[in-house]
Symmetry: C2
Subunit: 502 residues, 2 copies
Amino acid sequence: MKESLDFIYKEQKELSIIKGVAALLGWDQMTYMPPKGAQERSEQSAFISKLAHERIVSDKLWNHINVLSKSNNFDKLSDINRAVVSRLKKDVEKARKIPSDFVERFSKTTTLAYSAWEGARKKADFSIFSPLLEKIIDLEKEYCGYINLPGPRYNSLLDDYEEGMTVEKLKKEFSFLKLHLVEIFDKIKNSEIYKNQKDLDIKFNVKEQKKLCNIFIEKMLLSRDNSRLDVSTHPFTTSIGYDDVRFTTNYEHENPLFSFFSTVHEAGHALYELGMPKDEFENTVISDSPSLGLHESQSRFWENMIARSRNFWTYYYPIFKKASPKSFKNLDIDSWFRYVNQVKPSFIRVEADELTYSLHVILRFELENYLIDNEINVSEVPYFWNEKMKEMLDIAPTNDREGVLQDMHWSGGSFGYFPTYAIGTIYASQLFNKLARLDPDIYDEIEKSEFKNIITWLKENIHKHGRIMSAEEIIKNCCGEGLNAKVFVNYLKDKYYSIYEL
Amino acid sequence: MKESLDFIYKEQKELSIIKGVAALLGWDQMTYMPPKGAQERSEQSAFISKLAHERIVSDKLWNHINVLSKSNNFDKLSDINRAVVSRLKKDVEKARKIPSDFVERFSKTTTLAYSAWEGARKKADFSIFSPLLEKIIDLEKEYCGYINLPGPRYNSLLDDYEEGMTVEKLKKEFSFLKLHLVEIFDKIKNSEIYKNQKDLDIKFNVKEQKKLCNIFIEKMLLSRDNSRLDVSTHPFTTSIGYDDVRFTTNYEHENPLFSFFSTVHEAGHALYELGMPKDEFENTVISDSPSLGLHESQSRFWENMIARSRNFWTYYYPIFKKASPKSFKNLDIDSWFRYVNQVKPSFIRVEADELTYSLHVILRFELENYLIDNEINVSEVPYFWNEKMKEMLDIAPTNDREGVLQDMHWSGGSFGYFPTYAIGTIYASQLFNKLARLDPDIYDEIEKSEFKNIITWLKENIHKHGRIMSAEEIIKNCCGEGLNAKVFVNYLKDKYYSIYEL
């Protein structure tokens, strides 16, 4: 038993080393790698992934896990070891369900599909991508067969990103959410403020944008000693190690809100990564986030609940104004706050406002379910996409680039990923609601940009748990209930009815 | 035989992937890694090194190599395969001579020694470092016992960095070189120009320095598509892949010559890395440089022979002057050229001028030989260091930080490394001498900063050979003779007698 315990700890440690190496390969690819390095980089990343996969599914590891899982041995383990062994067993068991030839076929198909998607997107021609999307959907269904969770097939896909979440539960929450989002959006559309709202001409150079981002990072108590901000086309966050977390933003837009909100969003992810449980859980499978939804809750919390709030801009409006007085001429704090939260239906998910964003997600969730359940064919996706856009957002894409081809997720075979964006957004509202009721002083603190108490609360209630529980259990522990779209809807009504004077 | 050939090619390919991953871990550590990431990074790097080492010394690889090396099989191989098999056999045979417990002891001792060296250097106190240096020297001797090359023990150390080079040969060349360097230096010291030379107050900000470096990089036809320049404390060059070569510089000094010459030097290394043989030799042991000395010849060629030449400054003097007219007030091109080549004895090797630099190297070579041959004790090193400084450079360090503790090489167990700096410098002069005789037009080309012909010549005569021959064979092929310090001495006399009007 001692030998088996030693083995699984050593193996987890080495897997965590490999994970850090893989993260660095990925980070560098998105930030500094010269363009021609791409081919060799994909081989390097594939090699490291394969190395990790081989170790996870090795019979040796599986045998040691089984020694420790035998009831007479398991009962003798400490609480911590029991948690680690159970969690590890679940992960390995799942990984071992997938035949290695499937892993290879999947990887080859998604590599081809990514290129096809890029080409299709450039030409705004779905037909270039659709043959590969068909193959991917066949692979997804095959995958569901291996995982074979109870209930609808899609549950087996969802589980990879949001373990424990089910289609049944999501359909319920998402249909409620959709109904209310459309309702709120309808009201807003008929308001005078909406009818009169205009785009502003806000221009900051890169240096000014960087300065604003750095002010916020410092206020969030993120240190250069164990984290750093770089630039990439699409902002992201990754951990190279416990004390080496990297996040990125992008300064290409002249409007500083893109780089600023991206920084805030990714800083939320970075703070979570830096808060992962160490000590007894260091370098074990527990020391990770339980789901993408919970991870997204940490970024959306900061981006939406904090940085899009009126209190927040009490502190930052003067700083922005000072950085570019010309842009802020004749623009008082209330107009600016309205502008920051302006509702404006958009074809593109990543450009959507806080209110309509989740509708983009629900659209994808519905289409993914149709496809996995054979309710529609791939060739019908653009039609249904556009229909749903009209239904929810009252706009219709003029081409596939603005529509079905905008996201890369499907080309990578990431079915079941999109819902986590909305789950995270809902969780974020639940967390903020709980915190504000526990400690109404936080509004003052946000006005002063003093985040120490908020950070401590998030660390204590979310970060430190790692994967010891499921995401929903962590939320339930903290907020008294699991995923609840009502809280999010109430938050949105409060906020937007006030902004649009409804 | 087919199976064995396939195996060794696949294995070399994977080793080259692992090498690229290791290079990225190292590059990131020196450029962008947040300081607290160091502990985890050392574990990541150690893991990847171990992975490579295990594969190199595996019995499976060795057996396949031996199948292919059997004379009846070997004779049937193509020329290329014969070259690859022979080279690989040599490398693997050498690696297999070292017991794995030695590798571990060596790695642990050097890790401790590095920390001790850092502490000792900070306090300028050799006694903090000396107990570990003693251990390292014992390990070096033990290592020589495993490798066991004919002749003096030091040959087995030298071979790791400059394969095929011997102590006998180096002693001969270096004693000739030392004699003449001291003689030239003595003459210079007595010249009027030397007695009147002054430091100049040249100040460029980082932006201006960057611009100058980028102008040169472009002229050297290095493309951002497959290479990049970053910043690190100590400039270096590394290959992440054939199409991903990274080099660095440092802009901390206000005098732009540090960043500029570092960039030129590293660009020489980078050009070599980008020229490694591909096609039939891609991802084989042939596709590498045969020695550190030859690698250094490529950087010194550009730094010394090109960028410290009068012709070079015809093009760059006006550019520098334009970038900071204030610094260049009352400073004509000839004064500037003299300043760039100013001889000034220095305690610190990396700050030395072109003339005295090799004396620093010879000093270390002599001390290393004494230590490995038990002619002196570790405790006597500072004494002999200072004595030799007086003998060669006529200056004596006032403390150990300025003396024996200045370089990190010994703390890493890199005995036999230093001589490659002087070997490379000599080779560089031989290459330039050959090229200038073949094509006297190059002086005009250097005046116009047009390097196409020079680059093509280096690629054809040095880069494309990889490790198909030894460094000295490559030089012999190109220049008609092996290492020859006379050529370097003549070059120095020509240059410095003119500058100091002797």
